[in-house]
Amino acid sequence: MTVALETRNLVKRFGGFTATNDVTLSVRQGARHALIGPNGAGKTTLINLLTGVLAPNSGQILLSGEEISRLPTHARVGRGLSRTFQINQLFGDFTPLDSMMLAIGEREGHGGMAWRQLSRDRAVADEAAALLQRFRLADAMGVATTLLPYGKQRLLEIALAIAAKPKVLLLDEPAAGVPEEERHEVLSLVRELPADVTVVLIEHDMDLVFSFADRISVLAQGALFAEGTVAEISKDPQVKAIYLGEDA
């Protein structure tokens, strides 16, 4: 089994409060790994540690066996880590086309090219158009992001993360805030992600977790509480007590 993403004894403290408590986690390549836990369990802190938004107090993070704990965010992205945000992080008046040109251009290392005109970047534009089509954004590719309906913005959020062609993709509540009628569109796109991409999903929606994930880690109070297959976790009485029980 090849391990795509690994943490070893990861600790993050904010003053006296330990948000991530000695988390050792290993995600197999190609996995559909869900990270669940009640509010305040430290899921978002963990994602921020993985992506380099926060620096850990101690412990290691490894991406495909390479230590990345001290790398800045953009360098981790360059090594194949990508994420979506729980709250959309988009570029305001950029159009979806601008955003995709940016994401793909950066992946291809065109970002430093100050003399080439965007319209001449044919290969990038073709790929952008194809990706926009796949994410059902082709009709709206010339519209400012802020003017798009929320569901479309959510799709763009995910498309941006995919455009980086990541090895490991962290999805932070991909369907959060999406109205019911647009929800299935978002979810089906998440399900259609290529099989070799490792996906770590943070989600509250248990139906989605159980239908999507093949492995589940449960976080509670910053620490890893339980880990196992969907069947194991869904039967675990303790997990039910701390998490599912709370939901019911």
């Binding site: 800045p72 992080q89 305001g92 159009t95 940016l102 950066e106 003399w115 926009l132 519209v143 479309k152």
Partner: protein, 343 residues
């Protein structure tokens, strides 16, 4: 347009081309600027002034409008360029184009060296460090009287004909043409840069640095590069002033210049390059008019205008751009309609 539905990539290319295409108002602006040589031969000096201020403001737009860096000391580069061009012409070589390039390179290098100051920290630290750098240079120019003429300014600058061909005449006609050509060339270059993948990444960093980093963009190098380019632009603008007036006063490094250029850019609007040029026209005409009415106190009215702009909101002030055919704002209005169709 043809009836056949376009494929997504054709649409994409079409949209990208349209964003980089020359607009009618752009071409008209340059044609009018050229026509001024013949229409207003008696106003060459003030037109030169506008051109130089416009270039200075375009350079500020590169860092403020595209990279989102607020600077209170942009005149450091303007003043440095002016002094370098003046000293270079006085002591070494008096051909102006060479002087312009030297001034641009020196200012650019200085911008590169000081760019790390604006990389970290909040708006406030950036304001303070840029302000501090400008004050430092002003103090230096003031103290190093043996080189700069100190408080009396740098005089004895003689400028030989441009490329050995065109002499600066008394009416400032060749001076204006010279400044205008420089402005046009530099604006074209800037225009290319902002429509490139690099320009796109700058806009992205300004709009959402968190997401930009998450797309693998390292902001450091991008900002250093644009800061360097902007500094070189400002230096060239300063050099133009020194060459067309054959004089450099310590005033080129004064705080009010940094404030003026901010005002110019805010009047014209940030983030579309031409804001600096439009702003320079409005600002200079306004100042000329005000200083005729109240010779000593035009500063009061400039201050009032600044406050009004902020109170009313810069977006509303610059809404007039929407009336430029094919302008970015008109495009956005069109886009809004399109968005409603999508809904």
């Amino acid at each position: 347009m043809s009836d056949k539905p376009l494929s997504a990539s054709e649409t994409a290319i079409g949209l990208l081309k349209r964003a980089g295409r020359w607009q009618i108002w752009e071409i008209a602006l340059w044609l009018i600027a050229i026509a001024m040589i013949f229409v207003l031969p008696s106003k060459m000096l003030i037109l030169t002034e506008i051109t130089i201020l416009g270039l200075f403001a375009v350079s500020l737009d590169l860092i403020l409008g595209y990279a989102g860096i607020v600077s209170l000391g942009h005149t450091a580069f303007f003043g440095l360029g002016a002094y370098v061009a003046g000293i270079f012409a006085r002591d070494y070589f008096s051909e102006p184009v060479t002087g312009l390039l030297v001034a641009g390179v020196v200012s650019g290098l200085f911008g590169f060296a000081t760019s790390f100051l604006v990389l970290r920290g909040s708006d406030l630290t950036r304001l303070m460090t840029t302000f501090g750098v400008a004050m430092l240079l002003a103090e230096l120019a003031n103290q190093a009287a043996w080189l700069t003429g100190g408080a009396d300014g740098l005089s004895g600058v003689t400028i030989t004909p441009i490329l050995g061909l065109f002499e600066f005449d008394l009416w400032g006609r060749n001076g204006y043409i010279y400044a205008l050509v420089v402005l046009m060339v530099l604006t074209f270059i800037a225009r290319r840069i902002v429509n490139s993948p690099y320009g796109l990444s700058l806009k992205a960093i300004k709009r959402n640095p968190v997401r930009a980093a998450m797309l693998g963009i390292s902001p450091t190098r991008r900002i250093v590069a644009v800061y360097t380019i902007a500094a070189a632009y400002a230096g060239i603008a300063g050099a133009l002033l020194a060459q067309t007036t054959s004089f450099v006063s310590p005033d080129v490094l004064a705080f009010h210049r940094s404030a003026d250029v901010l005002l110019v850019l805010v009047i014209g609007g940030t983030g579309y390059l031409y804001g600096g040029i439009f702003g320079a026209i409005i600002f200079t005409v306004l100042r000329d008019w005000l200083s005729v009415i109240t010779p000593q106190y035009w500063m009061f009215w400039i201050g009032l205008i600044l406050i009004i702009i902020v109170m009313v909101g810069p977006e509303r002030i610059t809404r007039w751009q929407a009336f430029l055919p094919g302008s970015a704002r008109a495009e956005r209005l069109k886009a809004r309609k399109a968005a409603e169709d999508v809904r």
